[in-house]
Amino acid sequence: MRYVDEFRDANLARTLSTQIAAVAEPGRHYKVMEVCGGHTHTIYKHGIEDHLPETIELVHGPGCPVCVIPMGRVDDGISIARRPGVIFTCFGDMMRVPGGDGSLLDAKAQGADVRFVYSPLDALKVARLNPEREVVFYAIGFETTAPSTALTLMRAKAEGLTNFSVMCNHVTIVPPLKALLESPDLRLDAFIGPGHVSTVIGCRPYEFIPADYGQPVVVAGFEPLDLLQAVYMIMLQLAEGRSEIENQYGRVVPWEGNLRALEVLQEVFELRPYFEWRGLGFISQSALKLSDAYRDFDAELRFDVPGVRVADPKACQCGEVLKGVIKPWECKVFGTACTPETPIGTCMVSSEGACAAYYNFGRFARSTARAGS
């Protein structure tokens, strides 16, 4: 077994690997979805599948916030960024995401004032320092990130800043999971629940998965050992005919989540009736917009965005990758037309995207390892 010393406790990793193999039912094929892009990154980087029996397949889920932004939302952002007087701020990961008409980075090269920031609070600072300019923050992320935007908006409101606004693309994790569970394309056995998202929302929101679909959910940390342990906990549940939510990452994730964070989300945001996800289409009540109390800070109201819809490029199979229906390397343009330098789809942009993770670390993964051995 390779790379075992990369685990926090190599002996435990070996034992877990043996135990997982022991509880796997002979002849049964298991599909376990890891929801979070951070997990996908660890799985490829550390070759986690090499430590699992071949009958356990890890399926990569939709939990990379950059990957799920549809092209139209990128174009809408660019249309704001191009307005005279606007300073457009976003996370670095967002800059290279291709829209229908180039990326924010392209818009910057063509003269738009696009700046990347580490934190929404940095965007707020830009607004304070440039009172004569309109400063817009392009917010992305799941429930992990949304409370940061919320607190930033509360601060902006308290300071009475009038030149700051947010284009909100925050999404929520449960609706796409429901959509996947309802999809006939994919038969899953269990879920590895996201770590940081659960720090905010806690474990309860996943209750419908065991209750309505009879599938185990184990919330897990990001280290290789965490993932092995989560897979073992899932396999035990399946072997014993249980389906429950278990929290492998209790050292960071409280069962109830972060109540303060949930409170600020409640105050600043409300659910959109529906939102378009890259490759997954429209999902109802799956994203956030600013609540009425914060409408003055809503960039979409302030700037009257075109609200464009752009179909994904024909060659792009990000939708299938995000649903776990195909593996990254099965996309026809993977590694040829689509690379991290020249991404066609979003999954190649962020290091949490399945395609980028496989592109960077794929040589460690099971399929190629076997082909090479």
Binding site: H41, K45, S119, P147, R155, V252, N258
Partner: protein
């Protein structure tokens, strides 16, 4: 952007605005600790927190912090990029 990186609280800068200075591998920057304020996880000097986009998301113990840092260092580029971006941050 999805990483949670451990930092140790070295100074409370602005109590009302919930701003604390943290040390992340020798880099000292301000972060917002408002998501932990008033909870059982309220932050004190010397505490370790998991930081995401300039906000402390949860309190962690020292062992967890050390192990997470080791793991993140093993990530290479993704962690270096995150640290670079943190260095460019100037929250007040």
């Amino acid at each position: 952007m999805c990483l949670g990186i451990p930092g140790q609280v070295v100074e409370i800068m602005d109590e009302a605005a919930h701003i604390a200075k943290v040390d992340v591998g020798g880099v000292r920057r301000n972060v917002n600790i408002g998501l932990l304020a008033g909870t059982s996880d309220a932050v004190d000097l010397g505490d370790w927190v998991l930081i995401h986009v300039g906000f402390a998301l949860s309190k962690i113990d020292e062992e967890e912090a050390a192990s997470t840092i080791k793991f993140l260092e093993g990530l290479g580029e993704a962690y270096e990029d995150e640290l670079e971006q943190l260095k460019g941050s100037d929250i007040a």
